[in-house]
């Protein structure tokens, strides 16, 4: 898996793959070379997850107008 492809992974997909890797190791009887490969892959995936959790681009809320198009939306502050 290329670095570029990893960055394009959604958080959900990265979490899913990380869970699967850990599941394979939990089954036991994994050869040493394969275990090391899974470990490296797992470290990369956990980095992707952590980066997404900590370095969040501010998601702007949007609201649909009468024409069905979305515009930025700011929730009204409480009076």
């Amino acid at each position: 898996m290329s670095e570029q492809a990893q960055q394009e992974l959604s958080f959900e997909e990265a979490m899913k793959q990380l869970e699967e890797l850990v599941g394979k190791l939990e089954e036991g009887d994994v050869p040493l070379e394969k275990a090391i490969t899974y470990y490296q892959e797992g470290m990369k995936l956990s980095k992707v997850c952590n980066d997404k959790l900590t370095r969040v681009e501010k998601q702007m809320e949007q609201i649909m107008n009468e024409q069905g198009e979305f515009e930025p939306f700011t929730v009204q502050e409480e009076e």
């Binding site: 959604s10 958080f11 959900e12 979490m15 990380l18 869970e19 890797l21 850990v22 190791l25 994994v30 040493l32 275990a35 090391i36 899974y38 470990y39 797992g42 470290m43 956990s46 997850c49 952590n50 997404k52 959790l53 900590t54 969040v56 501010k58 998601q59 809320e61 949007q62 609201i63 649909m64 069905g68 979305f70 939306f73 929730v75 009204q76 409480e78």
Partner: protein, 450 residues
């Protein structure tokens, strides 16, 4: 004459006492329209209850009105329960209200129960129909009023818990005659958009009339038909609308819906860290086990004493060679034994025996043949004798000895009938001692049978 005149206070108290002893006025149920509604800063409500021809003043103290599930307003039709009494300072009778609810609630409750029974019977509330809510959504659609507390609570809570997710608001009316159609349209629209992972729909608390859009059959069916999972968040903890029963997940409040829709970022981070620590531990364990196996081998007897290992191998080799020699000998003996057996079996097949048997056979056959020949010869001779006797009886020469003659045609065949010859033909006539050469001069046919 002085004692016959009453004070205003005395008169008012008398009237009040009369009212308070009248059982009909102790428990009064009214259906009326609200007007002149005022709410005092301390919470008490003052209003006029009226119909087409009459009106009565009313008060509902804060102790009774603080649990109201709706806000009374002028023009609203209501059902009230209370008692009639007199307010002495102004000598005015008024209704002291204990309970108030909007008129028409009963009909709505009935419609609610009937629709609930109908849709439940169709299986729309079945647990098996519920779609799972995605664990880490990327994009959430929020279908609610763009103003009010619900949208604020939902967005604020989601942003605090899980800022990764994208939020799109599909604004709708949540109250009044246009509410249900706009909610239905928004749900359909959210299903047409790309990438919506989950929908939150709902509104804050209110009376049954105010929540009624979410009890409409059209809204319930659009929720059931949605391919995107829907979290329903209508009203407060104790409110249950039809939408709540149909939705994939029911949240008690809009804030609760937001908490159900997204995970907590801190919890997810902790989970990722625990998976990371697990990976570390697994690989370290694997490496350590491999290292220990290697070290155990390095410490093993063979590695530390190669000379002894060589000697052991020499001894092993000697033992193996001894085994080999013994096995070869045994194999050879077995083969010789086999050859002996084969020779013995071959001897039994020696042609000498065959020849002896054949001689006996030939002798027997010769004897049988000779006997058969003798028998056959006897039979033949007997048959010949019989035939010879017959021949003698039929011998024409014997007959010719008595004087008979036999005519022959020129080609040698016997003339047996006059039709065998023509006038002029030559014929040979044989007699017992010679042949006559004759010629047919004429034919005279006769029938000796007649």
């Amino acid at each position: 004459m002085k004692d016959r005149y009453l004070t205003v206070t005395a008169l008012t108290k008398y009237i009040k006492r009369k009212f308070e002893t009248d059982q009909h006025l102790r428990e009064v149920w009214l259906r009326a329209e609200i007007s002149n509604f005022k709410q005092h800063s301390r919470g008490h409500m003052y209003l006029t209850l009226k119909d087409q021809t009459s009106r009565v003043s009313a008060v509902m103290f804060s102790g009774n009105n603080k649990h109201l599930k709706f806000t009374p307003e002028n023009g609203m039709n209501v059902l009230v329960k209370g008692e009639i009494s007199v307010y002495e300072p102004v000598g005015q009778y008024q209704l002291y209200i204990r309970q108030m609810e909007p008129d028409g609630v009963g009909a709505l409750y009935l419609a609610y129960e009937e629709l609930k029974k109908k849709l439940s019977g169709e299986g729309l509330f079945e647990e098996a129909r519920k779609k799972p809510i995605p664990k880490y959504p990327n994009h959430i659609a929020i279908i609610t009023s763009p103003t009010g507390a619900a949208i604020r609570d939902i967005i604020t809570t989601i942003k605090r818990r899980y800022p990764l997710v994208k939020l799109s608001v599909l604004p709708v009316s949540v109250q009044g005659p246009h509410a249900a159609p706009s909610v239905v349209k928004a749900i359909q629209h959210a299903n047409e958009l790309d990438g919506i992972d989950v929908i939150i729909t709902g509104r804050g608390g209110g009376s049954i009339e105010e929540l009624w859009a979410f009890n409409e059959e059209s809204v319930a069916r659009s929720i059931a038909n949605s391919e995107v999972p829907i979290i329903s968040a209508v009203g407060h903890e104790t409110d249950y609308t039809i939408s709540d029963f149909v939705a994939d997940l029911r949240a008690p409040t809009p804030t609760g819906a937001a908490e159900m829709a997204v995970p907590s970022r801190e919890e997810v981070q902790q989970h990722v860290q625990s998976l990371k620590r697990y990976l570390h531990r697994v690989v370290h364990t694997e490496i350590n086990q491999s290292r220990q196996r290697l070290q155990a081998m390095q410490r093993s007897y063979a590695f530390r004493y190669p000379a002894k290992l060589m000697q052991q191998k020499e001894q092993d080799l000697d033992r193996l060679m001894e085994h080999l020699q013994r096995n070869v000998n045994m194999s050879l003996e077995r083969k010789q034994e086999k050859v002996g057996n084969l020779i013995q079996r071959l001897s039994q097949q020696h042609p000498e025996r065959q020849i002896e048997l054949s001689k006996v056979n030939v002798q027997q056959l010769t004897t049988r043949n000779q006997r058969a020949m003798k028998q056959e010869l006897g039979s033949q001779q007997q048959a010949f004798g019989q035939l010879l006797n017959k021949l003698n009886l039929l011998n024409p020469l014997e007959i010719m000895q008595r004087g008979y003659a036999i005519p022959f045609t020129s080609d040698g065949s016997v003339v047996k009938t006059v039709q065998d010859v023509q006038p002029g033909d030559s014929v040979q006539v044989r007699l017992k001692d010679g042949v006559l050469d004759a010629e047919v001069r004429g034919i005279a046919e006769e029938d000796y049978n007649e």
